[in-house]
């Protein structure tokens, strides 16, 4: 009775007042990152566009539009009980796969930095299906591994195999682009979901081994393209390809390092304004933060990510619904590994892969996907008694 009433009250409140019942720490951290990201994207592009006689606010405006659309998608995600989402999961998964197939068709997919990963739409907007595919894989995996006969049982071997098949189709399509960074992040999410699902531990160990061996074979056999091998080489030895990958990594490190404790001040970074680091509004945006807002600013960014992850873990822990938990850990793994991969890359901890920084990097698809991920976390939170 009381359970029912409290649940119905939540439903009413959720429907009547925006964001009431949300995890405010989670929301606050996400909005903090969105604000910082907006300032950084503006700073990264202002001078560049102004000096070319273009609208200095071009990127700022588009970034704000992306955020608005992303927030709408995120809030939209919270409106329907996530448990009902299960019904739509096959559709979400199917759309993701369709997008990934489409992107590989010449004429539809655009190639940027060696990866055929974008679908261009009129008006200059581009969609990166791989970003949205992350969601379909996480939800799909969670659904299959949660739908064991009932909560008394851990997933069986066949459940795990089914789940892997659900992940394998989009992952293979992403590998074909090729997009190594996204593949690694999805793999991490998949392994995490399987681990938390309670599936036999040998699956986790086995998958990790397969990932290591697979990566090794991929590099050696040439499945991974030349430019990715070069990026990996320049990670190991920054002087290997000094003009391209090595240059980028060196410049990124110098730019971050030169920021010091307080940074050069927003809009005042000479490295940023000189555009010495390529892709600084997207994949390398953390260098702008490093130079302009310094250790304190970057520390704040890392703190905000930590809050998001901590709150997400709390939500995952609190829910007794295995599907909700698996969705949460999938999103956690996605956010955590993508953040670590991106920031680690700019600081020379990780090899260079083209993944955006969640909530901060410029880019529609990534922004939409991460805010939907945020919506999924709030959704689980809202429906947890």
């Amino acid at each position: 009775m009381s359970m029912l009433s409290s649940r119905s009250r939540r439903d009413i409140r959720g429907g009547s007042r925006l964001m009431s019942g949300f995890d405010h720490w989670l929301s606050g951290a996400v909005f903090g990152l969105l604000a910082i990201g907006t300032a950084l994207v503006y700073s990264a592009t202002k001078q560049w566009f102004a000096s070319n006689g273009l609208d200095p606010q071009y990127y700022l405006k588009r970034h704000l539009i992306n955020i608005v659309i992303g927030l709408l998608l995120g809030f939209g995600t919270t409106l329907i009980d996530y448990r009902l989402l299960r019904a739509y999961t096959p559709i979400v998964w199917g759309l993701g796969v369709l997008g990934l197939v489409a992107v590989l068709i010449p004429g539809i997919g655009d190639t940027v930095n060696g990866a055929r990963a974008w679908i261009a739409f009129p008006g200059g907007f581009q969609i990166q299906p791989a970003e949205l595919a992350k969601i379909s894989i996480i939800v799909g995996m969670a659904m299959i591994l949660a739908e064991t006969k009932e909560s008394d049982h851990y997933p069986t071997h066949s459940d795990v195999v089914k789940g892997l098949l659900v992940a394998a189709v989009p992952v293979l399509l992403i590998v074909a682009q090729p997009d190594l960074g996204t593949t690694i992040i999805i793999a991490a999410a998949v392994v995490t979901i399987i681990g938390v699902s309670g599936a036999p531990a040998r699956w986790v160990v086995g998958l990790l081994l397969v990932a290591v061996l697979g990566g090794f074979v991929a590099v050696k056999s040439g499945v991974v393209s030349d430019y990715q091998v070069k990026r990996l080489q320049s990670f190991v030895d920054p002087t290997a390809d000094p003009q391209q990958s090595g240059y980028q990594l060196r410049q990124a490190r110098i730019t971050i390092g030169s920021g010091g404790l307080f940074g050069k001040g927003l809009f005042n970074g000479p490295q940023t304004n000189g555009r010495f680091v390529p892709e600084q509004q997207t994949d390398f945006i953390f260098t702008v933060a490093g130079e302009e807002i310094g250790f304190l600013g970057c520390g704040l960014i890392l703190l905000l990510y930590s809050i998001i992850l901590a709150r997400a873990f709390a939500i995952a822990r609190r829910t007794n619904d295995i599907f909700g938990r698996l969705v949460c850990v999938g999103v956690i793994a996605w956010f955590a590994f993508q953040t670590f991969e991106n920031i680690g890359m700019t600081m020379g901890l990780m090899p260079m892969t083209g993944v955006p920084l969640p909530f901060i990097s410029y880019g529609g698809s990534s922004m939409f996907a991460t805010l939907i991920g945020y919506g999924l976390l709030q959704n689980v939170h809202l429906r947890t008694r």
Binding site: Y154, I254, G274, L309
Partner: protein, 699 residues
């Protein structure tokens, strides 16, 4: 069941927390621990220094007449990084630019080549910088030429024209003074990598020779540096530092431009005279020193050339002729880089040596037609006997044979071929005291030391040549295997390390292996004139700032005292005066109202010219005046110029006429050697533009 799930969750949370901690740690390391290093690296990436060379100090003569100035030019540059990418590698552009500028295609081609691109012997005029900076091909473009190039940028890709400051040697008094002034040129990689502690900027002009080189650090001033912050495409985003160039200091010389002009003209005239007398007269030098300070009042070398050819863009033909034997290597400064047997002018040193050895200047000496030394007959200069004569007369008529006897006797006294452990070596040590074999230390680069062929030199020479002479038959070409040469080789092999009787005898009359630069001889005669002080010749008088503040005033530097006592010096004055009044130079100086003391010299030279002819005699005249109160020392040397008196003696006489304003000439130095510094006012010389003469190399 849920516990297993929660356990995994906890594991994952710890793992992810450690990832975040890793990011924090790395961030701290980059920004705080290693921050300073990265800030430095970032600055290096972003900043570019734009160097504005300072305006170079002017060089003026003793009364303020400019000898080196700056003037506005129009530089035309060709950018190799642009034209090399054209289908024809820029051949078309270069030929069009050559046509517009009225230059030879080949000259322009070479000027646009990086030196290492060309074969070693064709590098004169090549570009000493890098491929990535615009290469200046001329600084003398006219307005019309510059406009033509700028307006047709489609025809001239990579070609630019802009105003530039260029060095100019205006020759206001008709002087060149090329070898003294030197020239300037662009900074080369060798200059940038040198280890002498000087630092240059790539686009500065620096002194390459002569005074421009010697006093470069003063003349060059300090380039202004504007530091700008650039982006990845080298576009300037802002300016971070700006220091104004500090103009170079001005250089005041001891040289008098008018006198320099006269000395150059008289040297050239003397060479013409030698030629008209049937001599080859290929080169020469003339020097005027202030005997009281060692100040160089004029210094000329022949052949010479217009110093402006370097800045205006030297042509291949000009460059080749500068270093060609056929044109007698005009690049060589004979006054300090030419070494010649001093011949009879050396007898002042022999006299001093003889006095030290105990011979009296009052005694009389036998002057036979020849003296037998061993099995060799040493003849008097004209093979005539003069009988028993006073030492004064011996010097006046330039008797050689009396010196043979004295030198031989002294050589025997020192042990001959088996020298005593510490021989007296009066002749060698006296010569050394006069500065023979030692650089004078003049403030010009690349001075040579001449040669004092004493015992040490002999040993060194032998060590180097023993192998050749001891295997002469095998080593020497067939054409050089005459009986005489074979005999000489055998002798050299046997005791080439010893000073032989012949060497000692030759040395006493300034022949054999003895070599002096004209400047060394001038300094020695100046010392005799001033009572014995050997001064270091000094070209620069003072360095002053553009506002007139004195930076440095050069005081006379004493190199030593000549090994001659008062009585000897007094005797030399008398004897050298007798040379001019009644001796070998009497004819050349007849009718000159100023009293001059001097000595003729006619030096034999062994060896051959480039065309195979035998080298002619070196004509010398070394002197000072006025005899009773000496002020000037004048030395002239004409290579292959014939007799000392008729070629150089006459030339020196004319120089004195110009100095003192006699025999119808107007004095070039009516006020003598100035005692105070002139004020420098280049503005009163107005606008001027001196073009390269079509015949840059004076012949």
């Amino acid at each position: 069941m849920i516990d297993r799930s929660r356990l995994s969750l906890a594991f994952i949370q710890i793992f992810i927390a450690s990832l975040m901690a890793a990011l924090f740690g790395r961030l701290f390391f980059l920004q705080i621990a290693d921050g300073p290093r990265y800030r430095e690296a970032a600055l290096n990436i972003q900043s570019r220094d734009i160097v504005t060379p300072a305006s170079r100090g002017v060089i003026v003569d003793d009364i303020g007449t400019p000898m080196a100035m700056n003037r506005a030019g129009l530089v035309v540059t060709i950018d190799r990084s642009v034209i090399d990418k054209l289908p024809d590698k820029g051949i078309g552009v270069i030929s069009r630019v050559a046509t517009v500028l009225g230059l030879e295609y080949n000259d322009l081609y070479i000027r646009t080549r990086i030196c290492p691109e060309l074969p070693k012997d064709q590098r004169i005029g090549c570009w000493n910088g890098t491929r990535y900076q615009p290469i200046p091909v001329t600084k003398e473009a006219t307005q019309a030429q510059a406009l033509n190039i700028l307006e047709h940028s489609d025809l001239y890709p990579g070609v630019n024209a802009e105003p530039v400051s260029m060095r100019n040697y205006p020759s206001f008094e008709g002087e060149y003074a090329t070898h003294v002034l030197g020239y300037v040129g662009p900074v080369t990689d060798a200059d940038l990598n040198n280890t002498d502690g000087k630092s240059y900027f790539r686009n500065e002009l620096i002194g390459k020779a002569g005074l421009e080189y010697q006093y470069d650090s003063y003349l060059r001033g300090q380039a202004g540096i504007k530091t700008v912050i650039v982006d990845r495409k080298e576009a300037v985003t802002r300016q971070s530092q700006n220091t104004k160039p500090i103009p170079g200091d001005n250089l005041i010389l001891n040289i008098n431009a008018k006198l320099q002009s006269v000395v150059e003209a008289e040297l050239a005239a003397s060479i013409q005279r030698a030629k008209s007398l049937g001599h080859r007269g290929d080169s020469g030098a003339a020097i005027v020193l202030d005997v009281k300070t060692g100040a160089v009042l004029a210094m000329a070398s022949y052949p010479t050339y217009d110093p402006n050819i370097w800045e205006n863009g030297i042509t291949v033909k000009q460059a080749q002729s500068l270093y060609s034997e056929k044109t007698a290597v005009p690049a060589l400064s004979r006054a300090i880089q030419g070494a010649y047997a001093p011949a009879s002018t050396f007898k002042v040193i022999s006299t001093s040596a003889a006095v030290r050895a105990g011979y009296s200047t009052d005694a009389s000496y036998n002057c036979p037609a020849s003296v037998m030394i061993g099995n060799r007959e040493f003849k008097n200069f004209d093979s005539k006997a003069a009988g028993r004569i006073s030492l004064k007369t011996a010097i006046a008529i330039s008797c050689d044979s009396m010196w043979y006897q004295i030198a031989y006797d002294e050589w025997v006294r020192d042990g001959g071929l088996k020298p005593k452990p510490s021989p007296n070596d009066y002749f060698f040590t006296t010569a050394k005291g006069y500065g023979v074999g030692k650089k004078t230390g003049i403030d010009l680069p690349s001075e040579i030391s001449g040669r004092l062929p004493d015992r040490d030199w002999k040993k060194a020479w032998y060590a180097q040549n023993k192998d050749f002479y001891c295997n002469y038959k095998a080593r020497a070409p067939k054409s050089q295997q005459t009986q005489l040469l074979l005999d000489i080789a055998r002798e050299n092999c046997l005791d080439g390390d010893k000073v032989r009787a012949g060497d000692a005898v030759n040395f006493s009359i300034g022949q054999g292996d003895t070599l002096l630069t004209p400047l060394q001889l001038a300094a020695a005669y100046a010392a005799i004139a001033n009572g014995g002080t050997l001064y270091q010749p000094q070209v620069a008088k003072a360095i002053v700032k553009p506002d007139g503040t004195i930076v440095k005033q050069f005081k006379p530097v004493v190199n030593g005292t000549i090994p001659a006592d008062k009585k000897t010096i007094s005797f030399l004055h008398t004897a050298l005066r007798a040379v001019v009044t009644s001796g070998t130079a009497a004819g050349a100086f007849a009718g000159l109202p100023v009293e001059v003391s001097g000595k003729t010299g006619t030096g034999q030279v062994f060896g051959k010219n480039w065309d195979g002819t035998r080298k002619g005699d070196t004509s010398w005249f070394a002197s000072f005046a006025p005899s009773n109160k000496p002020q000037y020392a004048v030395v002239m040397m004409v290579s292959q110029g014939g007799f000392g008196a008729s070629t150089s003696g006459v030339g020196v006489r004319h120089i004195y006429e110009y100095i003192f304003g006699t025999n119808g000439k107007t004095s070039v130095m009516p006020n003598g050697v100035p005692t105070s510094l002139p004020t420098i006012d280049t503005t009163k010389f107005g606008s001027f533009a001196k073009k390269t003469t079509s015949k840059a190399v004076k012949k």
